[in-house]
Amino acid sequence: MTRRPFWLLAPATVALLFLLLPLFGLLERAPWRGLPHLLGDPAVRTALRLSLECAAAATGLSLLFGVPLAWVLARLSFPGRKVVRALVLLPLVLPPVVGGVALLYAFGRHGLFAFDIPLAFTTKGVIVAETFVAMPFLVITVEGALASSDLRYEEAAATLGASAWTTFRRVTVPLVGPSVAAGAVLTFARALGEFGATITFAGNLPGTTQTLPLATYIALETDPESAIALALVLLAASLLVLLALRERWLRPGIAS
């Protein structure tokens, strides 16, 4: 029997309480009785719908562009690959506000790459900001899975006459399917909670760019009860994400 350093339990307990107590505070102050009424408020429902739509769109864009990017990083070798990889992961560590400012000077009205379609301070801008911040979650998850999945199945597919595209679609992607799903859930959760980049790049216009986190923050000043209600919705969404990942993440190999 090895001796265990039981004194570690004390700081561990402090850490656990520190993480859980704010949630208890939130639940304790929740106006449970008035909750249906508060959530039925058209302004809240608008913010909720906008949040879900934008987060879903950001997840879709991340899948569309992030999975190929993950494949490039995992499977192709080219000079500067490590630098590219570091740059892709930058939004993970970048303060979201900085991301928002950067987006503004890149894609804003007077930005370097200003398009004919206005992005800043529009719903599309919300999606852009959320994608910018959340896509790296998908890229690193899928890249990790691709890097560790070996090439033996892809070789077998090639000898059966599968083109590179068929192999990618029918072998590579299904094999990393659970990781793609886990990455998508993470991306969705990150996009749903996005605050800094969104408010900087897209602003805080109710009905157009005011997502749930923004609405929660604003409501805290004027109507604390509805702020708590909105926070509960976001908390519920986060718990759902945890549940979804528990199912998906721990069961590799089988998809479709």
């Binding site: 033996r152 199945y153 070789e155 077998a156 597919a157 090639a158 000898t159 059966l160 006459g161 599968a162 083109s163 590179a164 068929t166 029918r170 072998v171 299904p174 094999l175 399917g177 190999g253 089988i254 998809a255 479709s256």
Partner: protein, 346 residues
Amino acid sequence: MSLSASVALRRGAFSLDVGLAAADGEVVAVLGPNGAGKSTLLRALAGLQPMTGEVLVAGRDVTGLSPQRRRIGVVFQDHRLFPHLSALENVAFGLRCDGSRPAAARAAAAPWFPRLGLDGLESRRPGQLSGGQAQRVAVARALAVAPDLLLLDEPLSALDVEVRGEVRQVLRAALTAFGGPALLVTHDPLEALTLADRLVVLEAGRVVQAGTPAEVTRRPATAYVARLVGRNLWRGTLHDGVLAVDSGGEIRCSTGAFEGPALVSARPSSVALFLERPAGSSLRNLWPGTVTGVEVLGEHARVSIDGGPPVVAEITAAAVADLRLGAGDRVWAGLKASEVEAWPHS
């Protein structure tokens, strides 16, 4: 000739330089020790390994083509069935790549299951199949697209010994029905002798011997082949019916049919063992030596003896027990000249 290939490649200190041919319906086994380049050769033919040279399959030059366009089927040692597809979908995979609709591909894949004794396993995932079943599905998957050439990379070596024989029989029937040329890479002589029409022995990236199983078994060209087929082999110079063995000692042969460099071979069962020098023996080859190993295989035992020309004697396991033979024991080895076969070797 439906396969005709010359393959050359270099990987670090290892180099491979091999010419190969196989006719339609012919099964050629590529035998060799580990590291001889067998699997590398097979991967090069399939297009999975860069090489120089030429690969002609069914009269088509596929040298510059990607694996996808070669029409060469491969059965890998580790079946490599797609884990996310059912057995049936695995067999249908190649047909779908050929452009068949999903339903048509599955319909064409279905008859392979009874053919290979896989009835009722169509909807299983690879993870739910035994090793032998999975390898049979892999054979079906490779054959379903009717490739111009079939390559098998140690198809039985990953299987348990109990199921190996059963899968070997199924494989034999499938290869007979296939009709195209097939190349079987193996280091198991039993696999090669039971499945192949012709053997090609590869050592250190070069072909050291090629021929029918009977030819190779009777006249092994190298020590590896001799050990593989269980024969004694000595290399040396024959003069006046006596072989001066390169590594020392001499072997008397029955006739002095030719002179010069020669290979001389004898079956282990024709070597007699004695604890003392036999008196008044007519044996023309008789030399003392030391037992270096005893290997019991069922009712028989193989005794390796060093001291004179290295030799393996096969005696009954009962005789080993009677003589109390063990490593380090001094014995006399005897061999009749009439049991020795000699042939010229350049």
